[in-house]
Amino acid sequence: MSIDEIKATLEKALPGAMVEVRDLTGGGDHFQVVVVSASFAGKGLLDQHQMVYGPLREAMGSEQIHALALKTFTPEQWERYGT
């Protein structure tokens, strides 16, 4: 799965989200993903990560994505994280 495909899949599933994807090894199966979405507000980390894994489930299950390091933020958290 390509960086663009992951980005597009997540942006479709979480409208308005900011999605950043990096290929960690260049091999196209180890990724780092940062998602900033207002829909994470009021949810625990477990739920936030589930919301990102959900749309990628098939790719992760088939080992198209072998590893995915994930960080999730609400826009407010992202603001604080960046400063």
Partner: protein
């Protein structure tokens, strides 16, 4: 068959205060994420049980169904699914992992 696996996992998760499903074992982790999770748990000095999913394909698939979580490692504290490497790392950095462990071992 599938039910047996789920029952086995359920028993492991409930019997052990801290249960880690990982690739490899704490001495020889077979994946960077598993290794990192082991390091974090070891830093608290609490006992934890591990299961090497690479030794058992049924557990490897079964654990993903059990928690509805697509990746390994998976950490369970006091019978409850906590998360994978990213979440455990974040809880560790925020200082939220220690109270969870403390509560489990004080019971």
């Amino acid at each position: 068959m599938a039910n047996d696996v789920q029952a086995k996992i359920d028993q492991q998760v409930k019997k052990n205060k801290v249960m880690l499903y990982m690739k490899g074992n704490p001495q020889f982790p077979q994946c960077g994420f598993s290794a990192h999770t082991v390091e974090i748990l070891q830093s608290y000095g609490v006992p934890f049980q591990t299961e090497d999913v690479l030794q058992d394909p049924q557990i490897r698939e079964g654990i993903k169904q059990y928690s509805n979580w697509p990746t390994i490692p998976q950490v369970y504290i006091d019978g409850k699914f906590i998360g994978g490497c990213d979440i455990v790392s974040e809880l560790h950095e925020r200082g939220e992992l220690e109270p969870l462990l403390k509560a489990a071992f004080e019971k």
